[in-house]
Symmetry: C2
Subunit: 242 residues, 2 copies
DNA sequence: CGCTACTGCGTCCACTGTTCGCAGTAATGC
DNA sequence: GCATTACTGCGAACAGTGGACGCAGTAGCG
């Protein structure tokens, strides 16, 4: 349609002329997030959003060029949930650790983010704010901008990848529609075969270990351990100041 | 239908009685991978797979309980592409680094994996082989199994998250149906605004930096740097032997 | 006041994953 | 040798999807 305003982030919300729109992008986005939270990402359809808002399905396309746009808006809305990033502490490790934990918490609040993060670069204004904030934490160290962005990138990559792995089983269970116990029961014979075959002795130990009670918070501990190791690695190898 | 063979990995490929099936799961999986490689994951439909194989759509459901099963098979098939994991070198860093690079290469060969990895725990036999191999690389160090699996987990998380971030833009461009240049042109006004607004001074430097020619291999360099930092972190903090 | 550019939306299209039932076939039990 | 059984391939149908089109109604500018 338009030549210059092709990207959602650069498209004005309201037209200059004509009747005022009766909804806002934010209302639509919030409704979509509520549906995805409650019923899963596969239940999120344009019809379902329209129903939630009590409007016609086609009306949504006055606000969004496509469902893809809606998904972009959802991701960026989540990036703003925590409000403005906290003030910098002066210690880059503390600041980056905080960013990592906030990001992981967002994934846990909205597990559908794992599905959307793939194939969708986070270029929304709120995501950019978060990156700027992380860069600011590294700024006092006085390094090249490409070193700084690489550090931020790798931390974000770790958080994203860890959250996806963490939530993968939970999401598979939810999508299957049965309870955790039934899902486990369905998979038990296969894992039993893996253990009994003897060709995966170390994995067998992992599987047995996973049945222990202490495993409850192992995901959280693994995240913290991995994150600290990554930060350790950067701290020990920060390049010399230019 | 069945009580014990509910999980694809534990379901026999061929029935005991009746006519022999005219295809195999592997044929179907390969066809699906070829389609996803060539036309993108959103072009992968059961009808499209059936057409590729010259068979009826409903016939596929003699081999698979659902499309989800097919996606699981695709992921596990990719995990077997490199053949058996190479022999251990005796240096855990070298072995884990190799695993990470092979995994990243698989993501690049099959960008649709980024979409599938979310919400889908990798429990297929080939994925399990890879994990067993990584654990074996750490075994000589003599640590608890939960420490070992945590190290493997964090490395896999980093690779997954980095690959997803790396391929996100490429996938967005592909999905949009236009060329890289047109996609860039569509986003340029927005990024210009970000730079001009002055509220993201560090990001502005990143955006300017990204236009430099050296940025061509920056994704690869970032991956290697981050991976080495993570391995550094583990090496420096390996817990005391039990 | 009229013209223009918008808004809301009913209706339609092509497509999706999956199920049902039927005809054909290979191995088994007797 | 022959009925029985358990499978195979698959056309057709079903409920759902994202999105396009065009029409009626309306708000603001000249």
């Amino acid at each position: 349609m338009d030549d210059v305003h092709t990207v959602i982030w650069n498209r004005p919300e309201r037209a200059a002329k004509g009747p005022a729109p009766s909804r806002t992008r934010a209302e639509i986005t919030d409704a979509a997030i509520a549906i995805a939270d409650a019923e899963g990402i596969e239940a999120l359809s344009m019809r379902r959003v329209a129903q939630e808002l009590g409007t016609g399905t086609a009306s949504l396309y006055r606000y969004l060029a496509s469902k893809d746009d809606l998904l972009d808006l959802m991701l960026d809305a989540v990036a703003a949930e925590d409000g403005s990033p906290p003030a910098l502490t002066g210690d880059w490790r503390t600041d980056l650790r905080g960013m990592a934990h906030r990001s992981r918490a967002a994934f846990h609040r909205h597990p559908w983010m794992t599905s959307l993060a793939a194939g969708r670069p986070s270029l929304g204004p709120n995501s950019l704010d978060a990156i700027e904030h992380a860069l600011a934490a590294l700024d006092p160290l006085g390094f090249d901008i490409d070193v700084m962005i690489t550090i931020v990138n790798t931390v974000q990559a770790f958080v994203r990848g860890y959250a996806i792995g963490e939530l993968a089983q939970q999401e598979a269970v939810r999508r299957s529609g049965v309870g955790v116990q039934q899902w486990m029961d369905a998979h038990a014979p296969y894992l039993d075969n893996v253990v009994k075959s003897g060709r995966h002795p170390l994995l067998a130990r992992v599987i047995r270990d996973a049945e222990l009670p202490h495993a409850a918070d192992s995901a959280e501990r693994g995240f913290e351990l991995g994150l600290e190791r990554l930060l350790d690695g950067w701290e020990a190898n920060l390049p010399a100041r230019p």
